[in-house]
Symmetry: C2
């Protein structure tokens, strides 16, 4: 059985969250997660380096097979968009340099996929991530959002695989027809 | 004599220009320049990788001692700012990962330093870069802007060095007092 292990990334210049989730048949298994939070005392380029290196180390450690990132083409204003772009750029670069296929999902797709409602509140996302992964407690927002992005990717890829009959051949659900 | 060799960078997701200029006493010497223009056909993360790798190769080839980048905290809109931020982020990362000190200058500072007028037109910048570096013809805007950023940095550092008496000790102008 092919196992998909997704790295979800929630980029931010203050905190970048990441989370790794594996699809095993119909189960979603929590593999690991973390927060990269370079302090404000560091110069901006050094903060970017810490995010880039931290993600690279997470990829080495958790060995995801693909990466998923929020597709953020809106922002409060041009200045915050520019700063966020720097962080998101080095995140994409870390995934690309590790040879991972990269997928992007809108915030609405992610909420729809995890909570079943595209305009869900942050707390609903945190709680559903906790429930879907069987975690003892809610995770911080950055980590939870990263895991939600990974889950969205696995749901999306999973349904594509099911439609294409891939899981029917590979997985334990041989009588499934969609 | 300490020689400062500045790498100027003009980040862009379509074209990133770079230019290397060395200060030799009062002379500015053109060392090299280039344009990194990943085609639109490439996925966005692959374009970021090409910019990052291209700058890394330029740093290996031209061995600058410091880097200068335009400090761009404005943009037409949030979407273009976000995209530009990605490119600028991987440029800063390339310089940071090469251990270069990074300096930032506003567009106004750069024009002021090169043309002597903060609201100078693009063509004036291109022409002054050509004259200051003794080039046979004007360079494309991306390259010219990158060289202008390097020149601005050398002018700024040079005047600081002069004020601090560093060039007085190190350089050929021993009778200079500022």
């Amino acid at each position: 059985m092919v196992r998909t292990r997704a790295l979800g990334i929630d980029p931010g210049s203050r905190v970048t969250g990441f989370g790794v989730v594996e699809q095993r048949g119909y189960d979603l298994v929590y593999i690991g997660s973390g927060r990269l939070a370079p302090g404000d005392a560091l110069p901006f380029p050094a903060r970017l380096k810490m995010i880039y290196q931290g993600l690279g180390e997470a990829i080495d450690q958790y060995r995801p097979t693909e990466a998923a990132v929020e597709d953020l083409f809106f922002a409060k204003n041009a200045k915050s968009a520019l700063i966020l772009g720097h962080a998101r750029g080095v995140c994409l670069l870390a995934a690309e340099n590790s040879g991972l296929p990269i997928f992007e999902y809108s915030p609405r797709q992610i909420k729809q996929s995890v909570v079943g409602y595209g305009a869900a509140a942050k707390e609903q996302v945190q709680e559903m991530v906790r429930l879907l992964l069987g975690l003892p407690e809610r995770l911080p927002k950055d980590t939870s959002d990263a895991l939600a992005t990974a889950i969205c990717h696995l749901h999306t890829q999973g349904s594509t695989a099911l439609r294409n009959g891939l899981m029917d051949r590979a997985g334990p659900n041989k009588d499934l027809e969609l």
